[in-house]
């Protein structure tokens, strides 16, 4: 188990606020700078939103697993779902100059995380690995 916290929520948007709160509290416990914690909150929220929207196509009865592991210098979050496998080539945000609704989530995730990696080894569903290096 080491120093991991895991939370499993139904794929319903009403639980996103629970996840944001857990992200905040973990940031506090590890003394992470508040500005960074705010960016992490948004990024992890967007990753969950994408799972609900794209992997589960809006089905709110599935589940999302989020695991936080904080080690000296490294903050890792792993998100898992059992939904439709993501098409790696589509996994990118829109051109920021092409103003239209949507297409910002991936930008918000990559803004704060140094590593954004879809684990190819997972058989069913998706496992997204996000790593931020801490100073």
């Amino acid at each position: 188990m080491k120093d991991s916290v895991k939370i499993i929520i139904p794929s319903h948007p009403k639980y996103l606020s629970v996840v944001r709160n857990v992200t905040s509290k973990i940031g506090e416990i590890y003394g992470i700078d508040e500005t960074i914690v705010n960016d992490l909150k948004l990024a992890i929220d967007e990753a969950c939103t994408n799972i609900i929207r794209h992997a589960y196509k809006g089905d709110t009865t599935k589940r999302i697993i989020i695991r936080y592991t904080v080690n000296p210098g490294q903050y890792t979050v792993v998100l898992e779902d059992n939904g439709i496998k993501a098409d790696k080539n589509k996994l990118k945000g829109r051109d920021l100059n092409d103003i239209k609704p949507g297409g910002l989530g991936i930008h918000f995730i990559k803004r704060v995380f140094d590593i954004f990696m879809l684990d190819e080894k997972k058989k069913k569903g998706n496992r997204l690995i996000l790593v931020k290096y801490l100073k």
Partner: protein, 110 residues
């Protein structure tokens, strides 16, 4: 999230309180688009003072509102954005797409 609508000299003010996320943005969308639909050559201004969080679904809602309002001849104003939220608009390069003011008074030049 909570929204509160008030009139101001023939204009509309929407005060939003709380978190705007995938769960609450559908309600915001409904409020915003219904006001825009009814507006004509008016100002619709959104008070962000007590917005505690916004994610991409909230931003998408406002981009949609902006497209809708342009068709109506009205204008969409934002004011009172906390710095953390302003930063998100800046990063998304939407700070120059939306008309963002510091205060309500700034927005109306009063």
């Amino acid at each position: 999230m909570k929204t509160e609508i008030t009139d101001f000299k023939g204009n509309k003010r929407i005060k939003i309180t709380g978190d705007i996320d995938m769960h609450t943005s559908p309600e915001l969308r409904e409020v915003l688009l219904s006001i825009i639909k009814k507006s004509k050559n008016q100002c619709v201004c959104v008070d962000f003072t007590d917005v505690t969080y916004i994610d991409s679904s909230g931003i998408a809602t406002f981009v949609e509102g902006l497209k809708a309002i342009r068709a109506s001849g009205s204008r969409l104003f934002f004011y009172g954005l906390p710095e953390s939220i302003m930063e998100i608009f800046r990063f998304s390069r939407l700070d120059r797409v939306f008309e963002i003011f510091r205060t309500f008074e700034d927005a109306f030049g009063i």
